[in-house]
């Protein structure tokens, strides 16, 4: 792609602007709560936009376009049924609970409800997942630079890591959320530009439908959200409804640290709830930005593209005139950087609060937590960069990450659900239920060929691991000792709901 000076100028202004914003916001970081939870002063619109942009990063821009190319609009289910209902449940049930409890992390909340073992297991799982995910996203970023700008892979990754590291290290969650707001605007402008130009090239929406469905019998359902239950693709309607709609999406929006951490930074309970619903509004447009390009590529290039993850870079090269490349490039950079900064901020919080403060330095001061969180953020950044090339070994990054997520999303949702709604659920049931659920998911994935008839059955694995975890939680709860009511105040539905009462109960328990 031929780049003009204006393209380089746009990229340079973006990088410098983001760094300056991050550095400016660092003046507000006085204690660990400022760094990890933005001092709990953020409004709903900033949090909502940050949730959206954190959710659609490199994986969506590259991976979902590829999935749209292969399987059609059924992939849009991930942003529609896979978001709206779950976000409503999160807004009205889970987010107010977390916000009132004053917790920094989901594992911390689970630790209070169950025990330290559950908290540690959850933290370790999340830290490992984010560590791995960082490499995947950096790989996508390097791929994009290489493909679009012709830059050397490692130069691109190292420059991006330096910029992201700088503003995340100095500005904490405030910098992450506010840069996310800028990044969302850029992503939407760039994303809609590519879709508009693509549709223009194809001849409009009707022409797109005609061209794709004319490709043959395998493409007749590319514009159907509902695929038959016996489809060979990973997206039969049964998997979408039970696996995605009921379990995976709910688990994602109520149990994902990078998402929930933003709502915990809200200035009050209304803003915490509203942020989730505000984000849901934006989610309606995401498939337009990430799935439509896959369909456009199908109409323009036919069925010959082997690696779906290359669809988006190919479209950008083909469709964008010289001079617009810089803007588009910045849009994709924004998508990737917003995912990376969110992950880095979350992983530093998990390490500082759930591992360092619990095991390595139980008397850690606030300054210690701030310092350790920042240092671990840097460690994770270096690890992500160093391991980014591993993603090269796997085709279809998105499906791979979803498969990993499905191992513990179902069990985590079961723990949260019974933990909040059933006071008889015991601490050890939480621990063994989590282990059993993750083990069940792993076993089902290992023997997937024998059990399931669809390709990549992560939706089914997620649903059944949730069900099995629920059963094991109930079973173990009846043979182990529950916590007394006093220790559950503020953590279980029906046992103190008002903020002041909850805070008082938590303080009393913390003081013994």
């Amino acid at each position: 792609m031929q780049l003009l000076w204006i393209d380089y100028l746009i990229v340079a202004v973006y990088f410098v602007g983001i760094v300056i914003l991050g550095l400016y916001l660092s003046r507000y970081i006085k204690e660990s709560s400022d760094y990890f939870l933005a001092g709990r002063i953020l409004p709903f619109w900033a949090i909502g936009m940050s949730i959206v942009v954190s959710d659609i990063g490199a994986l969506d821009m590259l991976g979902v376009a590829g999935q749209g190319y292969r399987y059609g609009i059924a992939v849009a289910n991930f942003d529609w049924i896979g978001s709206f209902p779950a976000m409503i449940l999160a807004a009205f049930i889970f987010v107010p609970f977390y916000w009132r409890s004053g917790a920094y992390t989901i594992p911390e909340f689970l630790g209070r409800r169950y025990n330290l073992s559950v908290r540690t297991a959850q933290s370790v799982i999340w830290i490992l997942f984010i560590m791995f995910d960082l490499g995947v996203v950096f790989y996508g970023l390097g791929l994009l630079f290489q493909s679009l700008m012709g830059w050397d892979y490692w130069t691109a990754v190292l420059i991006s890591a330096a910029v992201i590291g700088l503003y995340t290290f100095t500005g904490g969650l405030t910098a992450v959320v506010l840069t996310d707001v800028v990044q969302l605007v850029l992503m939407f402008v760039g994303g809609f530009a590519i879709v508009a130009l693509g549709l223009w090239e194809v001849g409009g929406w009707n022409a797109l439908v005609e061209k794709v469905t004319a490709l043959g019998p395998g493409y007749e359902r590319h514009f159907d959200l509902f695929l038959p239950a016996d489809t060979a693709t990973p997206y039969p309607w049964t998997g979408i409804l039970f696996g995605l709609g009921l379990v995976m999406s709910t688990a994602y929006f109520v149990g994902n640290q990078t998402i929930i951490q933003r709502t915990l930074s809200a200035k009050n309970e209304w803003h915490a709830k509203a942020s989730m619903l505000f984000a849901a509004g934006f989610k309606a447009f995401i498939p337009v930005l990430v799935v439509t390009p896959g369909l456009i590529a199908l109409a323009l290039y036919g069925t010959g593209i082997e690696d779906g993850d290359t669809v988006m870079p190919m479209l950008i090269k083909k469709l964008l005139p010289p001079g617009m490349a810089g803007l588009m490039f910045v849009a994709f950079m924004a998508a990737m950087m917003s995912s990376l900064d969110s992950m880095l901020n979350s992983i530093s919080t998990l390490w500082a609060k759930d591992i360092y403060q619990q095991f390595l330095n139980t008397q850690a001061s606030d300054t210690d937590l701030l310092r350790v969180g920042r240092l671990f953020m840097l460690t994770a950044l270096i690890f992500g960069v160093a391991t980014s090339r591993i993603s090269e070994l796997f085709d279809g990054m998105y499906v791979y990450v979803q498969t990993l997520l499905s191992f513990f999303q179902g069990p985590t949702l079961a723990l949260l659900l019974l933990g909040i709604f059933w006071k008889r659920c015991t601490p050890w049931a939480g621990f063994w239920g989590l282990l059993f659920g993750v083990a069940t998911a792993g076993a089902m994935s290992f023997f997937a060929d024998r059990i399931f008839s669809i390709e990549d059955p992560f939706l089914f694995v997620s649903f059944w691991s949730f069900v099995f975890t629920l059963v094991s939680l109930v079973g173990v709860s009846y043979v182990t000792t529950p916590k007394p009511d006093k220790q559950l105040h503020g953590l279980v539905y029906g046992l103190v709901m008002a903020d002041s009462d909850m805070q008082q109960a938590l303080r009393e328990r913390a003081n013994g």
């Binding site: 409503i88 514009f223 959200l225 509902f226 239950a229 039969p236 309970e269 309606a284 399931f452 008839s453």
Partner: protein
């Protein structure tokens, strides 16, 4: 038998129209859930009680979009 349940093979004979009904029922349930929240709970923490801050209205907008998309596609 295990595969019949785990692989949802019992649903293989159901039509896509039936599937659409299942989806719509789920959306209706979620909407009812959102609308069933008390005024007190919905506005808790809000700076004022302006109409636009009523989160139940937000639920109606969101779920209307959702149902429209699933009816169209």
């Amino acid at each position: 038998m295990v595969e019949y349940i785990l692989d949802f093979r019992w649903a293989h004979d159901l039509s896509l129209s039936t599937a659409r009904l299942f989806f719509m029922a789920y959306f209706v349930l979620i909407t009812i859930f959102g609308l069933s929240m008390s005024k007190e709970y919905v506005f808790r923490g809000a700076e004022d009680r302006a109409l636009w801050r009523d989160l139940r209205l937000w639920v109606i907008v969101i779920m209307t979009v959702q149902v429209s998309l699933y009816l169209y596609f």
